[in-house]
């Protein structure tokens, strides 16, 4: 392309011939676009967890749509990851410990993967279900215990668009859990394998996107825009003896951007202004070896700088099989804190880091701090000091009382997490940002997943929000096909995209609000606020309906409102 346009430029050197040059390039470009290989209904740029899940749902439920997925890399095959050769024996090099790149999936998100993929993950031991969760704070006695009993089993599928009658195995699998942890690489590979089986989706990779032409960029194509579709041109590496790259162009009715927080599509098109709020935090994540098993429980302790979470990963059987010694198993740590502390954590020796993590996690309920600091109290007149002391004692006893009653009533006291005994592999750190695109769609383009929104990982909602996007978009595209409105004309597609955008923006903004509230509530060290927060946690723990509603929303079985 470069060479040819240089030639054209050399032929048209004078200004007078500039128009000829433009015309020549124009003709050349038209020629290139007329070499279009294929036209698709939906093209998804980004074949990660969210992009592949959309392709998977569409191939299962709206097979009449022609779908393409483009990605910069080719994921490893499932058998490569599991180290199983085609003859079935363990001749490969499977991982000996889990990767920290993993997701916490709600039961709703797991249901979108479907039973066949879940079975595969279970057989390989690469999925860790958890049925209870313990959340506690750094300076208070409150302990929040969630368990699968809080999930309203009758309302499991009320808000689902895609409950397949054939997938009856889903029900009994997902009924008694709060979620599961799955590594990114195997989840994506399983999805790609399932998609390939259907034969209706073209997986185009590895590619480097060169240009995207969409009607939303072009002011001239207002009105129906029926003729202007989206065209995507890319360079693709063709496997073979000699590494060979070809340039191709495809056209599509709908372009879906699923290429992550730094979405190339979103940035290139320039029609998606975003709002960002840097939390001023970084998260450090790594895989750890623990004494004993987590027994399907997830732990999270809130600190003023951010929570530290200890999550199950891989089944216990798999951990033993690959050589974790004795009773040890593996777990995943996600520690959110200030950038300074995060960088410190990255550099600490293994022994000291393990010590720090155990210090935090092994420490249980403590008393709330005094309402006012001693110095401040001493500066006040005696009657007021007495009143404040009295108030403090009242608050403390109420709080401790609430905690105790919560324990006796639900018989769920503080459970000490297993001790961490080793760090396996590398530590990773990443910035935590809140980002929200002001609009998720523009003519013929939709953003899904992190390309549209990112949140703090403290509530384990990041990927789950993306999966919610996937479900909603797939449902609206199915409606468009079933109503005969189709994706080729603008009217039908616009309606579908508008429905997607308005539904999802509501849910995402509400979830973000909730997480922001938690972030603020746990970040404060202002004593009266700490007392209030502790009491709040106790109330949530004891008040069944409130706690259950929280769980219903977090597990994805109920809309926020």
């Amino acid at each position: 392309m470069m060479l040819r346009s240089n030639i054209i430029r050399q032929c048209c050197t004078s200004k007078f011939l500039a128009t000829t040059q433009r015309t020549a390039l124009f003709i050349f470009n038209r020629h290139l676009s007329s070499q279009q290989k294929c036209h698709y209904d939906v093209s998804i740029i980004g074949g990660g967890a969210v992009g592949s899940s959309l392709a998977h749902l569409l191939s299962c439920h709206v097979p009449s749509l022609k779908v393409a997925v483009l990605d910069a890399r080719v994921p490893n095959s499932v058998s490569d990851i599991l180290g199983v050769s085609s003859s079935g024996d363990d001749s490969g090099n499977p991982a000996v410990y889990p990767s920290p790149r993993a997701y916490a999936l709600s039961p709703k998100s797991l249901s979108l993967l479907g039973s066949p993929i879940l079975s595969k993950l279970e057989d390989a031991g690469r999925i860790a279900y958890y049925d209870s969760m313990q959340v506690w704070e750094s300076d208070g006695p409150a302990v929040l215990k969630f368990d699968h009993g809080d999930v309203d089993k009758d309302r499991l599928w009320q808000n689902s668009f895609f409950t397949s009658d054939e997938d009856k195995n889903l029900d009994h699998r997902l009924q008694n859990i709060l979620g599961a942890v799955v590594e990114d690489d195997i989840m994506v590979s399983c999805l790609w394998e399932k998609i390939k089986e259907t034969g209706r989706v073209d997986l185009i990779s590895p590619v480097k996107i060169l240009a995207i032409n969409a009607p939303c960029r072009d002011e001239d194509s207002q009105g129906d825009g029926h003729e202007s579709k989206v065209s995507i041109s890319y360079k693709r590496t063709v496997p073979g003896q000699d590494v060979n790259t070809v340039e191709e162009t495809i056209s599509t009715n709908l372009l879906v951007a699923a290429d992550g927080a730094n979405s190339f599509v979103r940035k290139t098109l320039g029609t998606f202004p975003t709002v960002s709020l840097a939390y001023g935090r970084q998260a450090v994540t790594c895989t750890v070896e623990i004494q004993d098993s987590l027994k399907q429980t997830a732990f999270q302790r809130f600190q003023p700088n951010g929570p530290i979470a200890l999550l199950p990963i891989w089944s216990d059987d798999l951990a033993k099989r690959v050589g974790a010694s004795g009773t040890k198993t593996y777990a995943n740590i996600v520690w959110s804190t200030t950038p300074e502390e995060a960088q410190q954590l990255m550099k600490l020796s293994d022994e000291i880091l393990i010590q720090r993590m155990n210090d935090l996690l092994q420490c249980g309920p403590v008393n709330v701090p005094p309402l006012l600091s001693d110095n401040f109290k001493k500066s006040m007149p005696q009657p007021i000091q007495n009143a404040v002391n009295g108030l403090e004692m009242l608050s403390r006893s109420m709080n401790n009382g609430l905690t105790m009653s919560g324990i006796t009533e639900r018989r769920l006291g503080f459970c000490v997490p297993p001790i961490i005994t080793g760090i396996m592999g590398r530590r990773f750190s990443f910035d935590l940002n809140l980002m929200h695109a002001k609009n998720y769609t523009c003519p013929r383009v939709a953003l899904i997943g992190d390309a549209a929104h990112t949140v703090h990982p403290m509530a384990g909602q990041g990927l789950n929000l993306g999966m919610g996007d996937v479900e909603c978009l797939a449902y609206n595209l199915k409606q468009a096909v079933e109503s005969g409105m189709g994706l080729d004309g603008m009217a039908g597609l616009q309606y579908a995209l508008q429905q997607y955008e308005s539904s999802r923006q509501r849910q995402v903004v509400a979830t973000m609000g909730g997480i922001q509230f938690l972030h603020g509530a746990f970040a404060t060290t202002f004593s009266p606020m700490v007392h209030a927060r502790s009491m709040g946690m106790n109330i949530v723990n004891s008040a069944g309906p409130l706690r259950k509603k929280l769980v219903q929303v977090a597990t994805g079985f109920e809309q926020v409102f």
Partner: protein, 240 residues
């Protein structure tokens, strides 16, 4: 922005459901197409911009579309030419449905006849209905052919519909130009039923079409009990 666009999905879902039930068609997504109306002939009375006609065509029906305005039908035809799935719609502009019914070739020939959002604008609703019914296929003597189905959707004549459709739709929100509707021409399901009964049809089913809050989302849904404002009904010849 055409307000009918947002109502189209539920109108189509009602039609698809009714036709599916009548002809025992399993509404499944095929590997390559979703065409439950394949092999059926459909008539869109008062097609306007062709929104309904194109939807019927994409679901596999062979569609004839009639509209009293020549220009409107011509514009719809140009639009439909752009997609191969809709390019074979037969548009008949500058023709009334009575005129179409007088042509022998069309009499009793359609499996689906749609009179959607039209009857409340007609100068002679009874004559329109009579012509529409005459274009509907009659059930075959041997009982194998189920006969055609007529779909009518309009707005009910109630205080609520005055408040919502006229005051709300035309004056408050301005979604519809003032004077679009004449409340006196609105028809209740019972009245339409009586009208078609005279021509030998019975009512099969009906639903109210309701706008779900938040209203600016323009999400409609079908309701089995509330016919106070918009509603849609299906009618067919009695068997035998």
């Amino acid at each position: 922005h055409n307000p009918l666009i947002s109502m189209n999905p539920i109108r189509m879902s009602f039609i698809t459901e009714q036709i599916g039930k009548q002809r025992s068609i399993k509404l499944q997504h095929d590997k390559t197409t979703f065409e439950p109306f394949k092999g059926l002939k459909a008539l869109d009375v008062g097609c306007g911009g062709g929104l309904l006609s194109e939807s019927l065509a994409r679901l596999g029906a062979s569609v004839t579309a009639v509209d009293p305005s020549k220009e409107v039908a011509k514009a719809a035809q140009i639009h439909s030419q752009r997609d191969v799935k809709t390019s074979s719609i037969e548009y008949k502009g500058g023709m009334s449905v009575e005129e179409l019914a007088s042509q022998e070739i069309y009499q009793s020939s359609f499996d689906i006849v749609c009179v959607l959002e039209v009857i409340e604008h007609a100068t002679d609703p009874k004559s329109l209905m009579q012509s529409a019914v005459s274009l509907l296929k009659k059930p075959s003597q041997d009982g194998h052919g189920p006969g055609g189905m007529l779909f009518v959707s309009t707005i009910n004549r109630t205080a609520k519909s005055f408040g919502i459709a006229i005051v709300g739709g035309e004056y408050v929100t301005g979604k519809l130009p003032i004077g679009t509707h004449d409340w006196n021409k609105f028809l209740a399901p019972k009245e339409v039923h009586e009208m078609v009964q005279d021509f030998g049809l019975g009512e099969v089913d009906k639903r109210g079409m309701i706008l779900r809050p938040p209203f600016y989302d323009l999400k409609w849904y079908l309701d089995a009990q509330d016919f106070d404002v918009n509603w849609i009904g299906s009618y067919r010849h009695h068997q035998g």
